[in-house]
């Protein structure tokens, strides 16, 4: 009897394992890359003079590096099943503080350290309300977002802060080996976070908590500290991104933060449909950030209105989440073959 069971389960597994272990370069794993290539092809024919240039390549890489860093920092709380909606406002607040302080004569190192400290505090406060008090992370970080926007306006009076030291702008806008320096920041950060999420017990525990917090706890995982760390990291990364943003722009703008929130979420969720299905991952997030950027950039160069980037990101977020849902559904249907409804 046990051999019968064995055989039948084995054939079943062969039938079902296939969609789950696809060819590493197949469409179901890195479909985003192919979509990106198709977009490049279309734009290359449509607007070859402006799109298919070295300048555009550098511009896309550089302008999206900060979004990508922010997205990858966001993956930690997302992996653990938490939302951090305060990262956009955190970027904005830290950008303003950096500008305010350095234009007032504070040393760059000190200003940077203080901004990091503020990120730490914001992350701790978020984690306190989410993990200790037990408020839904969506609500707690939304409230924090509002607090940070208020603080931002109080500091900046909604005015642009200019007159930053040139040493600061160098940190954010110089080129290294022909690419914007922010791209190199991204590469270093992505490697570290890929390692943390994919190859350390800490990362694995985050996914376990995100998958089933109760079961993880019963299996002996200490959850509180890890959830704290995840929210602190996402807040501190947002603070760093804000500081670099100011360095890159050469001015402190009070309105930059909010424009970073949606692209980060769109990329994180779209990224979760790539490489590792239904799992937030660094490489998928990178693919997603740049596919979205290529799509938007081409439309902008082709003369589309300025609102297309929001349109594009919104559509992408909806598509990404729907896609993830369908991927999940497919395996479940294969597994249990719910006869209800569909097979009639």
């Amino acid at each position: 009897m046990s051999t019968v069971e064995h055989a039948s389960e084995a054939t079943e597994s062969r039938r079902e394992a296939q969609p789950r272990q696809p060819w590493p370069l197949g469409f179901s794993r890195i479909g985003g890359v192919y979509i990106g290539l198709i977009l490049v092809g279309i734009y290359a024919f449509w607007i070859p003079d402006t799109f298919f240039t070295h300048a555009t390549l550098v511009d896309v890489l550089g302008s999206q590096a900060l979004t990508a860093i922010l997205t990858i920092g966001l993956l930690l709380p997302l992996a653990a099943g938490l939302y951090d909606l305060s990262i956009g406002a955190m970027v904005g607040f830290s950008a303003i503080l950096m500008a305010q302080w350095t234009s007032g004569g504070m040393s760059i190192e000190l200003a940077f350290a203080l901004v990091l400290l503020i990120g730490l505090v914001v992350g701790l406060v978020n984690a306190f309300f989410v993990v200790v008090v037990g408020i839904n992370s969506f609500i707690a970080t939304l409230a924090m977002s509002s607090l940070l926007i208020a603080a931002n306006t109080a500091v900046s009076n909604n005015e642009l802060i200019v007159g930053l030291p040139s040493t600061l702008t160098k940190i954010g806008s110089s080129n290294v080996l022909g690419l914007p320096i922010t791209v190199w920041y991204l590469v270093a950060f992505a490697v570290v976070m890929w390692w943390v999420l994919e190859h350390t017990p800490f990362g694995r525990y985050l996914f376990a908590i995100g998958s089933n917090k109760e079961a993880a706890k019963l299996a002996g995982v200490r959850t509180t500290g890890k959830l704290f760390v995840s929210l602190v990291v996402s807040a501190m990364v947002a603070a760093v991104v804000g500081a670099i943003l100011t360095a890159k722009l050469g001015a402190g703008s009070p309105e930059v933060g909010s424009s970073y929130l949606l692209p980060a979420y769109a990329a994180a969720f779209l990224g979760a449909t790539q490489v590792k299905a239904n799992r937030f991952n660094v490489i998928g997030a990178l693919i997603a950030v740049y596919v979205l950027a290529i799509g938007v950039k081409g439309l902008q160069l082709g003369g589309a209105a300025s609102w297309v980037s929001e349109l594009f990101n919104g559509v992408a977020l909806l598509l990404a989440v729907s896609l993830a849902r369908l991927q999940g559904l497919r395996t479940k249907v294969q597994w249990r073959r719910f006869a209800r409804g569909k097979e009639k």
Binding site: S13, P201, R204, F207, S211, A215, K217, G220, R279
Partner: protein
């Protein structure tokens, strides 16, 4: 007696019902006849096919080919809940599926529909709800949120909802699945009065329960399932408790290889006066290499004790002594450091990590021998996981397969593998074979016997005495938070003694929940 009743019109006739899950016959060629105005009791052990049969009738599963079902002479295809609904085949599941925040009117209307699509006339809806409740003999206030009704009134609201077409010409077939689980003895009597009321109106009732005394009391006919087969159809008058129990158990003793267990003298684990939310002053001890059963009904403390010992529930007093060390407080991680590892019950909610692979589920215990930033996820982890899946007999042995794609029994083996991988000195399992098939059940028991043979102390909490006597050297029975009996051996009469000591208090004394 009932030759007259036996001529009562057939409400439902099902023949040749079978259901195969991954090569295992969960239900094997079962015939079932329900007659209008009669209550048919359906009994059997866990895994005997009771729930499969209900799920087939409800259209949740599609039966194997060859099944034929007719209701009041009209045949129809099983496999769709809409069709079952259309044939007046109605179900009241154990959880009742009521919406607690809504009142009775709304709960009934969600299924029946309101009188008008454009305007809800409160008085008219209330009158209808009131009339439906009256039909089942319930006098609850239809405007109270159902969460504020008593347990029996809630059950009756669910029954009224199921019987909303009782005024139709076609008879209704009502399936009650473990309806008395949350009720006190007095409430059970009220429920039975209601059941007699609706059968008098021509409803056929299929009454599913493992409380044999209640089945005997309320049923006219009784059918017994064992290992997926229908082994007896009797009139209730022909049976008493012990003859029914004999039919259910069938007295087949499983052949497990009872490996020799070197029990050391003296206790490895001693529990001194441990108290928690429902446990009161629990004391017992266990030896190295011993398998100790914990028996008792729900709420007896049997359901809390594993979590207290595993550090997952709060201690309100007492201590334990493990290998001579005294421990007075514990959390899940510290329990594991002491060598006590828990395998929680309710696999889907507390056991598996659904989004992860089998490998990740297994290695979750002890991921970081080097530290939280050690390199994992490589070949070594995969080989380690494959070894454990092999040891515990998980089929197929594919570490990277998503855990949801394994059958329930294999998922349970994965959760047990995770616990064994910690090399515990004391392994505690809550309902380790709940909802797994017979093959996996035997495999899991064999694993536990082998673990004990290696000197591990194994504690198994279960509501099924049958499970306990299969593997346990000794069983402690809990009632009202205390240990009330400590039974040696696995003799056949141990089952009766376990059952006797866990329920010898009469149910009237059980306090209502609210």
């Amino acid at each position: 007696m009932g030759s007259v009743e036996m001529d009562a019109p057939v409400a439902l006739r099902a023949t040749g019902l079978s259901k195969t899950f991954t090569g295992q016959k969960a239900l094997d060629d079962v015939d079932l006849t329900l007659r209008a105005g009669r209550v048919c009791g359906l009994v059997g052990q866990n895994g005997s096919g009771k729930s499969t049969l209900i799920k087939l009738l409800a259209g949740y599963h599609r039966p194997d080919p060859g099944a034929h079902v007719e209701v009041a002479g009209r045949s129809f295809d099983l496999g769709s809940s809409a069709a079952a609904e259309e044939m007046n085949l109605r179900f009241v599941h154990q959880d009742l599926a009521l919406i607690g925040d809504l009142d009775t009117i709304d709960n009934l209307a969600l299924q029946r529909g309101f009188h008008s699509r454009w305007w809800i006339a409160n008085r008219r809806e209330a009158a209808t709800a009131h009339r439906l409740l009256e039909a089942v003999g319930c006098e609850a206030d239809v405007r109270l949120p159902v969460s504020r009704l008593s347990a029996v009134d809630r059950t009756l609201v669910a029954v009224a909802r199921a019987l909303r077409d009782i005024e139709d010409e076609r008879p209704t077939v009502l399936v009650l699945d473990e309806p008395t689980e949350a009720l006190t003895k007095v409430e059970v009597e009220r429920l039975f009065a209601s059941i007699r009321r609706v059968t008098a109106l021509g409803t056929a009732v299929l009454y599913v329960s493992h409380r044999l005394d209640e089945v005997l009391e309320v049923s006219d006919d009784i059918v017994v399932l064992r290992d997926g087969r229908l082994v007896a159809t009797r009139e209730a008058d022909e049976l008493d408790g012990s003859s029914l129990l004999r039919l259910i158990v069938g007295r087949e003793v499983e052949q497990l290889e009872d490996t020799h267990r070197p029990k050391s003298g003296g206790s490895l684990l001693t529990v001194h006066g441990l108290s928690g939310a429902s446990c009161v002053d629990v004391s017992f001890s266990a030896q190295r290499g011993e398998i100790l059963g914990i028996a008792g009904l729900d709420g007896s403390g049997r359901d809390e004790l594993p979590y207290l010992l595993g550090g997952a529930a709060r201690w309100q007093g007492g201590s334990i002594e493990l290998e001579g060390r005294a421990i007075t407080r514990m959390t899940t991680p510290t329990a594991a450091e002491h060598g006590i590892v828990l395998v929680p019950g309710d696999r889907l909610r507390n056991g598996i990590l659904p989004a992860l692979s089998a490998q990740e589920n297994v290695t979750l215990s002890r991921l970081d021998p080097v530290g939280p930033l050690a390199w994992i996820g490589g070949r070594r982890e995969r080989r380690d996981a494959a070894d454990w899946l092999g040891t515990t007999g998980v089929v197929p042995n594919e570490p990277e397969r998503a855990i949801e794609l394994f059958s329930g029994g294999n998922q349970q083996k994965v959760v047990i593998a995770r616990a064994l991988r910690r090399a515990p000195t004391v392994l505690i399992l809550d309902e380790p074979v709940q909802g797994v098939d017979a093959g996996a059940r035997a495999a899991i028991f064999q694993l536990l016997l082998d673990a004990a043979a290696d000197g591990m102390t194994v504690l198994i909490a279960s509501t099924e005495p049958e499970d306990l006597i299969t593997v346990c050297d000794r069983t402690v029975v809990m009632r009202e938070g205390r240990v009330v009996a400590d039974l040696e051996g696995s003799a056949a009469n141990t089952i009766d003694r376990i059952v006797e000591s866990s329920i010898s208090v009469s149910r009237d004394q059980k306090e209502p929940v609210e």
